[in-house]
Assembly symmetry: C2
């Protein structure tokens, strides 16, 4: 029953999305990738954004490793991997947020996420190219990210007496994403152990009343409902965490229960779906208070790509028709709202009613990642079940 | 011809806006002001935000100083001024961004703006209360802000080899705002001299083609059109700068020319007005490229309050009917879109079509400031011209 979805996703991926990035984002002069691409692919900011450069290395390497050994994909991956190797890190090994086109540091974020995506890029690239440095640097970076999350002071973050200390769902998810990829290529028993811990840590974010995962809870899991951060739910983010947890349970089955994850997935869609206009709201306050984020009621592309793959996964695991019904709803909204038939790829940002607020295809946070990853994973999952 | 506007603004100010903040924002237990207020005034985040606490001290002190010596206004101002004196600064005299309800540091921004608004609050409060400490601390803070703007490293900002170095319009405007208030109460000849320099600095932001002020230019005024920051215009911000420049020219007439400022005001409205839905767009790229800000096409309250007062000022100075025509357009859109007749005060955030995206009255950036300041200044200006 999922075959028609796979056919459409395959076509979108290989005829629209990947060609768009291959054509417009590669910087053959300085290396790395442009990601600030306007509707037609023209560059409107030539800085190199590290989240997105790392992600694109990962994407092209994964295509090469899991679809077909096309030399142009390996070549495109190398263009980013080498650029990052030369320029991405400061003297202490921390990763910048943005570089100039030619690789000089332009911005630093006191967050670990740039390093996360560079780590993922290098690890996948090492499998594609066989280059040992990339694997070694990726493993090093994984352990550095663990240290930076445990002690944000290492990234230059201030510690203030009255600042709330949260367990952040994003920190848990990115660690799962890295440990899953490491566990797939390395028998080191620490990775499954870490994955077990991370599963437990993610479940501490469960809001018992709504069965969704909160973005921020106290380190012991106590909800922190007095503050907006403690009431914050990003429904699309929860669907992404759900599919990571389902992957985790395939590698470490004793870490938890598939049914518990599926219960969260369903609750996140129920809670986050906009009954008036369709689509997943970007941020919702559990108590119906106004979120501080101005973009809260906007519709962004990535919550929808993550929901699609989570639903594909849920259906292939359970065969339960309810996931197919949700997939039809999410897929119909998504394909009506985001893809650009004229120039390829997807728009990323719409208002609550689904009208694009920006016609760009990429910026400092949207690149060659969520769309092609979800399409590729969905196609591969559906085809593997045939 | 402006009298009907004054009557309406007076009523809005004294019957809706000020009562809302008097009723809901004063923290009688710990001092300071709540600003995260939902539609009905209920507190949804009890942290104290320093920009807004400083601004509210200024607002209540200004009401006391320039409208009527109501004890409750002085009392409300003191509640914030004393709280800020006890808690707002770190050991190096830098101001936090947010405190817990009881005054412990909760967030620090590596920007000078918290200090700017605390400085303005204390200075105006010193005139209301006669308390010398407040005047002294305000003057000290003015000079500190000047140093922090000249050397952002003092606020902990990193200096990166590839980071663009901009002259920022906001930095110029906040210095004008402080120096104007100091020049009004202190004969020190440095203030008019600084105002002359700041006028010249602001004019370096002129985009010669569109006659608007760019948010960011090279320090020598060269446009930096390769980067989104260098192409960024915030039309409402330009109108705010314009009225500050008109005030400046009343204090220091030889600093520049009123006609040059009025030309920019008209251009900013022409350039920023949304011909499709009405209202001022929040951010526009001069070259029609997509802004990086997700909220670019939203309609926010404060660009409209600032435009209203700028137009009142332009009309009272010139008597030119074109300003009255613009005022009618902006006022009609604004009063159709933002005020909340049910609970008082104004909504702050709407989508491009003018529908509220948030029903809150205040948050970490909206407080008791833009609405009452513009209404008060407009009323006073119109009534002074009778």
């Amino acid at each position: 029953m999922l075959d028609p979805f796979a056919a459409r996703y395959r076509q979108d991926l290989f005829e629209s999305v990947i060609p768009f990035w291959m054509k417009h984002s590669l910087d053959r002069e300085h290396g790395g990738y442009f990601t600030c691409l306007d509707r037609d692919g023209s560059v409107f900011d030539d800085r190199k954004y590290m989240w997105l450069n790392g992600r694109q290395v990962w994407m092209f390497s994964r295509l090469y490793n899991s679809v077909e050994k096309r030399p142009e994909w390996l070549d495109a991956a190398r263009l980013g991997a080498d650029f990052l190797r030369r320029h991405a890190r400061d003297a202490q090994g921390r990763c910048y947020f943005a570089l100039t086109r030619d690789g000089r540091p332009a911005a630093f974020q006191r967050k670990p996420y740039g390093a996360v995506f560079i780590m993922l890029g290098w690890l996948e690239y090492s499998r594609a190219s066989g280059e040992e440095w990339a694997r070694r640097e990726a493993v090093d970076l994984f352990w550095s990210v663990r240290r930076w999350i445990a002690d944000p002071g290492l990234l230059g973050r201030l510690s203030l007496a009255g600042a709330p200390v949260f367990s952040q769902l994003a920190d848990i998810m990115v660690q799962i994403s890295m440990a899953l990829e490491l566990a797939a290529v390395d028998p080191d028993p620490r990775y499954p152990e870490i994955l077990r811990e991370l599963y437990t840590a993610a479940m501490r974010h469960l809001d018992p009343e709504r069965q969704v995962l909160l973005e921020n809870v106290s380190p012991d899991g106590t909800p922190w409902t007095e503050l907006p951060e403690g009431r914050l739910v990003s429904p699309g983010h929860v669907t992404e965490v759900c599919w990571f947890l389902l992957h985790l349970l395939e590698i470490v089955p004793d870490a938890g229960r598939v049914d518990d994850v599926l219960c969260i997935l369903e609750a996140s869609l129920d809670f986050g779906w906009d009954r008036e206009y369709g689509g997943l709201l970007y941020f919702v306050d559990t108590n119906g208070r106004p979120p501080l984020q101005l973009e809260a009621s906007m519709k962004l592309w990535w919550p929808h790509t993550e929901a699609i793959y989570a639903l594909v996964l849920a259906h292939t695991i359970t065969k339960d028709v309810k996931w197919l019904e949700w997939l039809r709803i999410v897929d119909e909204y998504t394909y009506r709202t985001f893809p650009d038939p004229e120039h390829g790829e997807w728009f990323g940002y719409c208002d609550r009613a689904g009208k694009p607020t920006h016609l760009l295809k990429g910026n400092n946070y949207k690149g060659c990642f969520h769309v092609p990853r979800a399409l590729l994973f969905s196609v591969q999952r559906i085809e593997a079940m045939r």
